[in-house]
């Protein structure tokens, strides 16, 4: 019973807060660009507007188009259930970190399916870029979780979260924190790593043929991705702060997420977009650094 309530609470918070985070990003980007920018609640209105439009299906395989849109939001919402905003991840008794890792990949696969279903040259190019980026990036997250699991001695979610990376040896945890901060921008797919939806180069890439409600689903899942990754980072690297009052814990968690969102915003506002080969090289370097941290942790550092 408590699990179900906690799950609903997580999903509700994600659905409500994710567009707010996006609105904050847009507002701060506008301030950096010396303009007024849209109101903070604009993403809510954008999604509402997209939902009321005509639902058009184009491309070579319309069923796949529908399926990938639904899959992307569904997979993201599942991952939301792994974020311990309320102190415990709702799925902590039924799932462990391995499922978390591959559900995250599933959300990325939804974008690949979207690109395939459109079948046009530009969406295929975007899809191949997304595939390359995913293959080099997802293992990075896996390495972090594995390091936390090795230190904690178990793959259970309760054990892996809340600063388990610092157990045993603080330095490898701190190094891993540094590596992951450099990679945060890449995980949420924003400048300078928004190479898959490079609007000016390949016309929105895999999402090219999407409009109306299906685009709303993709946009929503993109916003929730930011929420989820900020939440998972906070969960992995910020040790548990127990104030005793449940609501305050939740608010502190959300405050940490907002801090990460601000970091993402500032980096995305001040950088140009990198090319796919530069991006893949960067991810590979980060991966090697992460492996290095993992090895350090095995030596007890």
């Amino acid at each position: 019973m408590l699990t179900i309530l906690s799950a609903l609470c997580n999903i509700g918070l994600a659905l409500v807060l994710a567009p707010l985070f996006e609105g904050v990003i847009r507002k701060i980007t506008a301030i950096v660009q010396s303009r007024k920018g849209p109101p903070i609640f604009q993403p809510y209105m954008d999604i509402a507007k997209l939902l009321i439009k005509d639902d058009i299906e184009v491309g070579s395989v319309p069923v796949m188009q529908r399926f990938s849109a639904l899959l992307s939001l569904a997979a993201m919402l599942c991952v939301v259930l792994f974020v311990p905003i309320t102190g415990h991840a709702p799925l902590s008794r039924s799932a462990d970190s391995i499922q978390m890792i591959y559900l995250l990949s599933l959300a990325g696969i939804a974008v690949l399916l979207a690109g395939l279903s459109a079948g046009s040259t530009y969406s295929l190019i975007g899809m191949s870029r997304e595939m390359m980026a995913m293959m080099t990036l997802e293992p990075l997250f896996a390495v972090t979780v594995v390091m936390a699991a090795v230190k904690a001695g178990s793959l259970r979610l309760d054990a892996v979260f809340f600063g388990a990376v610092y157990q045993g040896g603080v330095s490898s945890g701190l190094l891993m924190l540094g590596v992951m901060l450099f990679a945060l921008q890449a995980f949420v797919g924003r400048a300078p790593f928004d190479v898959t939806e490079a609007e000016t180069e390949i016309m929105e890439g895999p999402l090219m043929e999407y409009s109306g409600p299906k685009l709303a689903l993709f946009k929503y899942s993109h916003m929730i991705k930011l929420f989820v990754y900020a939440g998972l980072f906070t969960a992995l690297f910020v040790p548990r702060i127990a104030t005793g009052v449940r609501i305050l814990d939740v608010l502190v968690f959300i405050a940490c997420q907002i801090g990460l969102v601000l970091l993402v915003t500032l980096v995305s506002a001040t950088h140009a977009r990198y090319r796919i080969d530069q991006v893949v090289r960067y991810y590979a370097m980060l991966f090697l650094a992460a492996i290095g941290c993992l090895s350090l942790s095995l030596f007890g550092l």
Partner: protein, 174 residues
């Protein structure tokens, strides 16, 4: 690394403040020489057709109803607001106003019709001297055969050649 450059860029951006103007809530005033919609003053117009002769977009048409009445019609649909008509008018009857919000669904909102009561020169009918060598008028006087059937002439000069260009361009005046 480019961290220093990024910090310099960020400082540049934040020092500038926000520059968005709240148009159309607060209309932005335009400078004195702004070339908006031309406004024709029928009191001052003498019907010389200098504006019609020199409008590059050919938006000013002339039609003589009879010996005494000439109609000057400004359609305004393809007007480029260049201001040549205002430059050339010998009586300064045309002013380039400051209005730039001229979009409308009905062409008649922008069109201006002037009915000019003409005086005749004793020697030749109607004679006007205007402008320099490159801007001179070609329609020198009222002639019976100039305006049969209420023809609209947009370039008084073209009419004097034998091909009436009014035939093969669609000038919809309504």
């Amino acid at each position: 690394m480019s961290l220093v450059s990024k910090i310099k860029e960020a400082v540049l951006c934040l020092k500038a403040g926000r520059v968005t103007l709240s148009y159309p809530a607060n209309p932005k005033p335009v400078p004195e020489r702004f070339r908006g919609r031309p406004v024709f003053d029928p009191q001052k117009c003498i019907g010389c057709a200098g504006c019609a002769n020199n409008c590059p977009a050919r938006e000013i048409l002339i039609s003589d109803k009879c010996q005494e009445i000439r109609v000057v019609k400004y359609i305004g649909r393809r007007c480029t607001y260049c201001g040549r008509c205002a430059d050339l008018c010998p009586e300064k009857a045309i002013t380039m106003s400051k209005e730039y919000e001229n979009a409308s669904e009905n062409i008649r909102d922008i069109a201006q019709d002037l009915d000019i009561w003409m005086g005749t020169c004793q020697r030749c009918g109607r004679c006007f001297k205007a402008g320099g060598v490159l801007d001179k008028l070609m329609m020198n006087g009222y002639r019976e055969d100039d305006c049969e059937g209420e023809l609209w002439i947009y370039k008084s000069r073209a009419y004097l050649d034998n091909n009436r260009i009014t035939d093969d361009i669609e000038i919809t005046v309504d």
